[in-house]
């Protein structure tokens, strides 16, 4: 097993005015499960393909372990890849698909057989070994693709949206299985996805990318609770964080955030940061996660400085929780997530308290989180 180090990596395609990946620096630890996440076109797949050797690196250095591999062919990098399009070999059965890479590397027949059968057992596809890919379901095909990677016992697994062709239920199952599997195998894994749920549930660390730049690298918890900018804050979490534009002002020794329907006081620690950064009297954007609105009377009574009144346009009851689509707080619709047992219904006015320990404040110009920068 080995770590992977990317030093000032750039990717620029001929004829393109801008770089697809810009100054990518990252040290991926041995045995780590790292997720690259971001919207389409953010450069996450290009980065993975450079690690795989499928794309040339325009600038920078790439190390797998201590070996510089910029000019090493994919087959000699000791990596195994799993792609979205499973790219199984349609004329070979499952056994042959899994054994092919080992055969090329001249493994002994007995070793090949052992590795294939062990991997098949782990993936629960022993009964499918004689079948050809087209006789398999989507989930089974993806397991075979994983099996083909596992038997190689590589230093690094590279996975590019491996679950995006599966339906939601199967995706959930496979997500858990891949996590279990990589922990058991203790192999460094770099996983690309556009699905933030996959990122949050699978990654030891997550790299959020946008327009070829790393926005933030952090653990799932840190990314969720301490996003460095509005993009990360909005990208991670579903429903997304609410962004409300307003003005910060000092009043009676407290810093208050005011806009239509909102007049709340920041906690003392956060107020101090606002003062230190010279934001008093200026416009800013407050970020509130949907679950940081509370309709429980106890919470409202305990939070007199953060109570707001809003009109419930629509409520969606998901059973264990309820989404409230609120009007009257700033100019946009705001989403609150409350307990499923809440009695709030469509069309009524509701009193809610904001958990001011958890709100974020973003600079209007730079969009950086002023509490985290």
């Amino acid at each position: 097993m080995a770590g992977v180090r990317l030093e000032h990596i750039f990717k620029k395609y001929p004829g393109s005015e801008t770089a697809s990946v810009t100054d990518f620096n990252l040290d991926i630890k041995d045995k780590e499960f790292l997720v690259l996440v971001g919207p389409s076109g953010c450069g996450k797949s290009t980065t993975l393909r450079m690690i795989a050797g499928l794309e040339e690196i325009s600038e920078g250095k790439l190390f797998i372990g201590e070996r510089l591999v910029n000019d090493v062919a994919p087959k000699d990098r000791d990596i195994a890849m799993v792609f979205q399009s499973y790219a199984l070999y349609p004329h070979m059965n499952v056994y042959q698909n899994m054994a092919f890479g080992l055969k090329l590397r001249k493994f002994k027949k007995a070793d090949i057989d052992k590795r294939v059968r062990d991997a098949a057992k782990i993936l629960d596809i022993e009964h499918l070994l004689d079948r050809k890919p087209k006789a398999l379901s989507g989930g089974q095909r993806q397991r075979v693709a994983l099996g083909r990677a596992i038997v190689r016992e590589p230093q690094v697994f590279l996975m590019d949206e491996p679950l995006s062709n599966l339906d939601a239920k199967l995706r959930g199952q496979m997500r858990a299985e891949i996590s279990k599997l990589t922990k058991r195998l203790e192999t460094t894994t770099i996983y690309v996805t556009h699905d933030q749920i996959e990122a949050m549930t699978m990654g030891d660390r997550i790299v959020v990318m946008k327009d070829g730049f790393i926005q933030q690298t952090a653990s799932p918890e840190e990314l969720y609770n301490r996003p460095v900018n509005m993009f990360v804050a909005g990208f991670i979490g579903a429903p997304s964080m609410n962004f409300i534009k307003g003005t910060l002002s000092e009043q009676g020794g407290a810093i208050r955030f005011k806009t239509t329907g909102i007049d709340v006081a920041l906690t003392e620690g956060r107020a101090q940061i606002v003062r230190e950064k010279g934001l008093v009297g200026k416009e800013a954007i407050m970020g509130i996660r949907p679950e940081d609105f509370h309709d429980e009377p106890v919470f409202i009574e305990a939070s007199p400085n953060s109570v707001v009144n809003a009109h419930v346009e629509v409520s969606e009851n998901l059973g264990h929780e309820k989404y409230l689509y609120l009007n009257g707080l700033g100019t946009e619709t705001v989403i609150a997530r409350v307990d499923g047992r809440s009695t709030v219904t469509d069309g009524i006015n509701v009193k809610l308290a904001i958990d001011m320990n958890k709100v974020h404040m973003f600079d209007l110009t730079t969009e950086l989180n002023v509490f985290e920068s």
Binding site: A87, L88, P90, P133
Partner: protein, 374 residues
């Protein structure tokens, strides 16, 4: 010498940048008539034309209905240099793979066949059948599946032997590997690849068409070559053929497929001729007409070219104009997507939720990719 090498050397000698273009024959003919000629100038190697924008085109070679030209700034050349470049191209010998001396008989025959195919293509003789002596003892009379492989990497030593061995292992049967240009190979795979698949037990209503099978085969082969050979490459597959009769025409079609695939779908490596009909049609429109058309359409507004809108539209079309799926894929709220589409409609008058406008915008995007990468 590869195209990249002679291009670089010529640029150094002339101290001026040049571009290698593949244009439609019609475009060459139109440019020729615009010079005042009564009949179009024949696009023979070395023939030159002055074209709009103070440029000169030199024909390098003709293939099917396309002409490979090099384009230079007219001001960069004196009259003597101009004639000298034409004379050089006229007398330039096409690069032919050297026929190995000590190599196996099969490799020698394959190289010879590759040279013959290249000659036929250069002379535009697409209907020519393979001479009896080159049919590998009659093997070329059997139907086979043609693949065209174009590698991105520099030629390695012993590539032929290594690649042939790899392909034989992959197909489990012997394949025919025919080297064409540098880093370009024609692979003829056995028909059993398709018949094996047809014999497999399958549930009803879940049958793959022969084209779907060929696409899976091409995708699997590409995956194998990318990970087990030298890395990234482009691969096209055609419908099964009797190579003795159709090898030249098929090679030409697959070359065109790889060319169009790379031009219109950057980032994709598996190219299927039956998926590129619109691209083929658009590719055949002369460059000047394309530019004119784009000029007219984009004059409506630049909003179409904004990166965010481009990404939105590409995803929207890829997901068959499904608003919910597109919003999900792009990680935006459905209403944000609708807002973007409304903004596009407001600025351009084109509503991509309407079939007619969607087709038009799809064409604009395809043409934009080509004109943008000049």
């Amino acid at each position: 010498m590869s195209t990249a090498q002679w291009k670089e050397q010529l640029e150094q000698i002339l101290n001026s940048p040049l571009r290698v273009l593949r244009i439609d024959l019609q475009e060459w003919n139109n440019a020729s008539l615009e010079q005042g000629a009564l009949t179009p100038l024949e696009a023979v190697p070395g023939a030159s034309l002055n074209v709009a924008g103070g440029r000169i085109w030199y024909a390098v070679r003709m293939e099917r209905a396309h002409v490979e030209v090099i384009e230079l700034e007219a001001d960069a050349l004196s009259e003597i240099e101009r004639r000298l470049v034409g004379w050089t191209i006229e007398n330039m010998k096409p690069v032919k793979p050297s026929i190995p001396h000590a190599a196996q008989e099969a490799e020698r025959q394959a190289v010879e066949l590759g040279v013959w195919i290249t000659d036929q293509l250069e002379q535009g003789r697409l209907d020519n059948e393979v001479p009896e002596a080159m049919t590998f003892g009659g093997r070329l009379f059997s139907d086979m599946i043609p693949f065209l492989l174009v590698s991105e990497h520099e030629r390695l030593r012993n590539t032929y032997a290594e690649l042939e061995k790899l392909l034989n292992s992959f197909f489990i049967e012997e394949v025919m590997l025919i080297p064409l240009k540098e880093q370009e190979w024609l692979i003829l795979g056995p028909m059993s690849l398709l018949s094996d698949a047809e014999n497999e037990d399958r549930s009803e209503g879940d049958e793959e068409t022969p084209r779907e099978l060929l696409a899976s085969m091409c995708s699997g082969l590409h995956g194998m070559l990318a990970s087990e050979w030298v890395g990234e490459c482009h691969l096209a597959v055609g419908e099964p053929i009797g190579p003795a009769k159709a090898i030249v025409e098929t090679t030409s079609l697959l070359r065109e497929t790889v060319f169009l695939g790379r031009k219109f779908h950057v980032g994709e490596n598996v190219h299927l001729p039956w998926m590129l009909h619109l691209e083929r049609l658009l590719g055949s429109i002369p460059e000047s007409r394309r530019a004119e058309y784009m000029e007219q359409l984009l004059n409506r507004s630049d909003v179409l070219l904004e990166p965010e809108i481009l990404m939105t539209l590409e995803t929207f079309f890829r997901l068959d104009c499904n608003v919910s799926e597109t919003a999900k894929k792009l990680y935006i709220h459905r209403n944000t997507l609708l807002y973007r589409l409304d903004k596009l409609k407001q600025e351009t008058g084109l509503d991509v939720r309407m079939f007619r406008d969607a087709v038009l915008v799809k064409i604009i995007l395809l043409l934009y990719k080509v004109t943008k990468r000049k």
